[in-house]
Every structure is written in structure tokens, then in C-alpha cells.
Amino acid sequence: MEATEAAHGEHHTSLGVDNRMLLMWIFLASECLFFGSLISTYLIYKGESLVRPLPDDVFDIPLTSLSTFVLLVSSFTMVLAVYAAHHNFPKMMKLSLLSTILLGLVFLGFQVYEFRLFGSEGLNLSTNQFGASFFVLTGFHGVHVGVGVLYLGSMLIGSMRRNGLGPSGGLYMEIAGLYWHFVDIVWIVIFTVIYLIP
């Protein structure tokens, strides 16, 4: 290891992966356990609700398919943003980033709409085990999307400075992309296990 360091962004590392990238990967491992526990709770209480409404009474699969599609598209725009960052296309990067953020907000909008729709059909936190486990699980997922929106928003604002995101911009975008894709994958799991599987 040199006694002098050049760009602070790129230190030599034993595994060859940047520290911050490795941090995000391991953090996501812990997030797997977090969502795993919430999904497990949902599955344990599946079929154990004492009163209605039950999933079949409230789920609107076409609607949720649409919001899922929106989130999937946002992952695609995120891929574009990361590509643009690595290959130094600042305009494309900002546009893709903005699209990702907007699509994320649309997804959140769908979530809020869905929560209110279910609420009007008599499903809330205290109604039954379905309500409790469903809202806590999807609520925390929504919080993660929200944090992701703030995260990407900060990246967008940062990219509008004179130096943009700096020489490590590609790395930063890739790390943000990891987080965003993870949140999307968790949603795919939730959509499949909670919504689609009878």
C-alpha cells in the first residue's frame, strides 16, 4: 500500500471490490433477513384470520400488476442511469435518474391508493392477521422505496453540481443501482408470494 493516495475514491482493496460497494452488498444481505422475517410472518398467519376481509376480497391483481410493471421499468431506467454514469453521458444519466425517481413515486402513489382502497373495504391494521401482516410488510417496503427515492434524488441533485458526482460517479451510481434493484426484487417476491399465490 502506497504512502501517498491519489483520488480518495479508489483505494486498493484486498478483494478488489470498492469498500462502499462491498458495504452495500453486505447491507443488502441483512435486508434479506429483514424482509424474510416480515414475509415469514405473513405466511405463518396466512389462513389464520378470524374475520374478513381476506386477500381474495380486496386484492386487485390487474392494478397491482400495473404498479409492479412500473417498478420493473424503473429498474430498467436505473440500469440506463448506471450505464450513462460509467460511460460519461451526463444528460442521459440525469434523464434516466429522473425517470427512475418519477416511476418510483408513481409506484408509491399506487401503494397509497391501494392502502386507502383496502381501508375503505374494511381492511386495516387491527382488522385481522391478514391486515396486520400485509400492511406492515408492504408498508416497510414502501418506506424502503421512499428512502430510495430520496437517495436517488440526492444523487440527481449532486449530479447537477459543477463537478457532477465526481470521478467516482460511476461507482456511486452503481451502488445506488444495487439498492434500487434490491428493493425491486423484494417487490417481485412480495407480489408473487402474497398477491399471486393463492
Binding site: M1, S30, F34, S37, I44, Y45, E48, L125, Q129, S154
Partner: protein, 600 residues
Amino acid sequence: MATATGTLPQVQEETTIWTWLTTVDHKKIGTMYGISGFAFFLLAGLEALIIRTQLAVPNGAVVDADRYNQLFTMHALTMIFLGIMPLGAAFFNYFLPLMIGARDVAFPRLNALSYWVFLGGALLLTSSFIFGGAPDGGWFAYAPLSDEEFSPGAGLDFYAIGLLILGTSSLMASLNFAVTVFNMRAPGMSMMRLPVFIWMMLVVNFLLILSLPVITVALVQLVFDRNFTTNFFTPAEGGDPILWQHLFWVFAHPEVYVLILPSMGIVSEVLPVFSRKPLFGYAAIVFAGVAIGVLGFAVWSHHMFTTGLGTVPQIVFTASTMAIAVPTGIKIFNWMGTLYGGSIHFNTAMYFAVSFIALFTIGGISGVMHASPPVDSQQQDTYFIVAHIHYVLFGGAIVGIFSGLYYWFPKMTGRFLDERLGKIHFWLMFIGMNITFFPMHFLGLSGMPRRIYTYDADLGWETWNMVATIGSYMLALGIIVFLVNFFWTMRKEPTATDNPWDAPTLEWATSSPPPEHDFDVIPEVRDRDPLWYDRDHGIEKVEPPSEMHIHLPPPSYFPLLIGLGVLLLGVGVLSHLALTALGVVIVIYSIWGWALEPTE
């Protein structure tokens, strides 16, 4: 101030409070963890003394039932989360970079943040005593007792919010240390050349990374049940109290390995140094540690053997629990093999390390006994379990920590803790500990349940309870002797050289205490015991060049600020949500500032 020039890096820095509040230096952060951890250890010890005084005689009147239930709950919470874990973190923090030949951890500001968030959570939890009562449902807080119907006060809310904050701190530290171990090793420091202490620390970090999310979910569900009308654990509405137990123990069983593995690592460092021969069976000890970590996730329901699990789950968890005894035994035999054929120098650190082997064995064996569900059906929830716990946690974890303290004291402070006082401390603690906790085996076999604030006179429990109480006072005396030793030693002049013990690992390749930048020259590692290899092969220490440009990360107040924000967040949830909002604002502002501040 970010550069150090010249060939004499040993500069006595002038430190102020502000230095400490804004430090990102792992050694200072480790010191803060150590001092806080020890202070809370003393507090938890005080709680234990009150408990023992109450139980010294039947129908004791030292404290009433409610206060007693708060005391035993807080004794466990404080010892585990505010005592042993921070003391482990103190050593990890101080020595991880030094032992792998790095200058700091991967994320110095995150490191500081972990400490400040810990301190906030610790103060929040402890303050519960004066704000409506400490949690009193046991550290395990079983539902439905933890529900607001049966625990209407604020205690269990302090419990949930406090542990959520503490969990966040531990998670951040674990992520930081894991990345550091993987990514910041000196040239030649392959994974299988890492000191055992570092390996154990790595396992601990993964245990935390994977288990903390589970308790987080459980605590969130508890908060929702108590405050937001859900019924996750309420039987009348379709909830299941056993779900809490599963989620809790999936976290809490790995947690007990989090508590013991650091001390196992310390002992693995100390024994070879004072036996003057290498650790016996390094690879086996490392793999056994990893195996304990992995298997540690497969045994949790042995805490639930009496809950009516059913035949098959009982059999499965018996098998996995028995299995975990094997790697544990391997480590013990390897430590004994390290002593064999050695030339053992018995200073205080070595006394503690050798007694660790004996005391932990006793605790481990009683554990294997109640790994069998039928035997457990008599021992569960009795003082037999209390005996087991304290042999592994006091005779294991605490004794190991003291061994590390006496071993590494010269490295951290330049001074040697007095050996005569050290031996008095050791004997008072060793004898006191056995007098306190061994009789608890008898009490458990005699039918005395746990967590009872008093007991009747004619059940045959008086004698051993009185003996245990006397032992606890002896223990306390030993700790006082240590404190006297500590303060007296700190007033002496530093005299320690780089490597007074002729130890093999890299932390002894720099001054005592190390300069702020740890190493003048990052060492080249040629062997698992680097300094012994260099000594035996006549390899000289590399002299630093006449001009060095070492950049160290500058101090930052954002970790402190975020810590304050998180504390406000928690306090607000327990009192006025306006404080939570303020906390969130501070956190968001500070994250922004942190991201933008220069790190050169």
C-alpha cells in the same frame, strides 16, 4: 493536521472534549466503547448485587416485586447490550486495524456514528428507571405479557425503542468491520493468516448482520401490537405468542455466540503468547468458530423445548444443539494443546485465560445437559439455567475480556496494570464467581424457579442462596480491586516498549500506545505469526522514510449530530412526536452534510 512528517511519530496529542466528540480514530472510538461498556457493566453488577441481597434470605424485603422484576430485566439487558457487547466492540475497534495492518476501519465516520447511536440507545434504555419504570417483562419480553394489556406502563416501549436503536448501532458497526476485514488487510495477510481474534470477530459480525434484522421485525411487531392496534401476538384475535418466541430466539441464540466468540478470540491470542508457542490447531479453531456461527442459526428452538413444540421439532433441535457442542469442544482441546509443552508465564492475563478454559467448560457441559429436552423439562426456568448462563457469560465472556484487558493494557496506554493487585483481583473474582454461581446448580436441581423475587423458608433453598450472595460480594470486591489498579496505573508514567510480551501479531509492531496513524510503514506479512517469523528469520523492522505523507480522515461532528438525532427520534416516539420530527430533520441534514464534507 492530516499529515505526519518526520521519523518520530510519537507525539503526545493535546486532546479536548471536542477532539473526542468529533474523533473518527478507531482507537479513540474503541476507548469510548470500553469506558462506556465498563461503566454499564458496573451498573448491571450493582443491579445484580441488589438482586442477590434480596434473595439472600427467604421472604426478603430489600425490594418489592415490581422493582425486582425491573432489576432482573435490566440486569440482563444492561450486561448483554450495554456491557459485554460494547466491551467486545471496544477491542474490535482498537485492534482490528492494528492486527490486519491497516490504519483505520473502512468507514471511520460510520464507526463514530455507531458509538454515538449506541450511547443514545443505552442512555434511553437506562433512563427508563426514572421515566415511569424500567421494562419488567424479562430481557426476553415474552408475549402476551409484553402486550399493553398486561404491561400497561412505558417500560416495554422503552425496551422496544431502546433495542431498536442499539440494534441499528450494532448493525452499522458489524457492516463496517466486515468490510474492513475483507478489504483492508496488509500485503501478505491472507484470510488464513488472520489472527483468531479477527476471525472470531468476523463471525460475530455476520451473526449480527443476519440476526439483528429478525429481532428488528419482532420489536416492530411488538411496537405495533402495543401502540397501533395490531394483534401479532394476541391470542384472542388470532395472534400467536409463540411467533414472538421464534423471532426473538432466532436473534437471541446467535446473540449468545456474539457474546462468547470475542472472548474465545482473546484467549486464542493470549494463550500462545504466554505459553511461548504457537496456537495449537489454528485451522481447526478457525473452522470451529465458523461452524459455531453457522450452526448457531440452527438451534434456536432449544430455548422453547417446554412450549409444546411437538415431537419432531424437539428431536431436530436436540440434534442441532448436540452438534454445536462438537466445534466448541474442539476449541477447548486446542487451547489445552497450546498449553501442552509450553513454557508458561503466569501473569494476570494468563491466569484469566487459563481459568477461561475451566470455567467455560463447566458452563458448556451444563449446557449439553439441558440440550436434551427431557432433562431440560426439569432444568428449564430454574436456577440450573442461571448457573449455566453465568458460567459461560461470566466465567467465559467476562473472564476473557479481563484477560484481554491485562494483555492489551500496555499497548493501549503504555502502562502495565499492577501484577500484585491483578492477582488479588483474579483470585477474588475466580473464587467469588464459583461461590456465587456453582451453588445455583444445586438450587435448580432443588426446584427453585427463575425470576422469582422471593421464596419460602422451608424448601431447602436458604443455605445456597446465602452462599451465592456472599460470593457475589466477593466478586464485587474483586472488581473494586481492579478499579483501584486501573486508576493507580493510569497515574504512572508510560514505560511500555512496542512488544513487551514478545507477541506475534501486528499490533505489537508499533509503539505503545500507537501513533494516531497506527503504523509508520504498513507491514508486509509473511506468516500467521508475523512478528515471530520476522524475529526467527532475522527480518528487521522497516524504517519509515524521512518524509511521510499519511493522510488520515479528518474529524467530523456529523456522526455526533446523527447520534443526537436518532436519540431525539427515540425520545419523541416515547413522549412527543415533535421531537421525533426534529430528530428526523437533524438526521437528514447531517447525512447531507456528511456526504458533502471533504474526506481528505
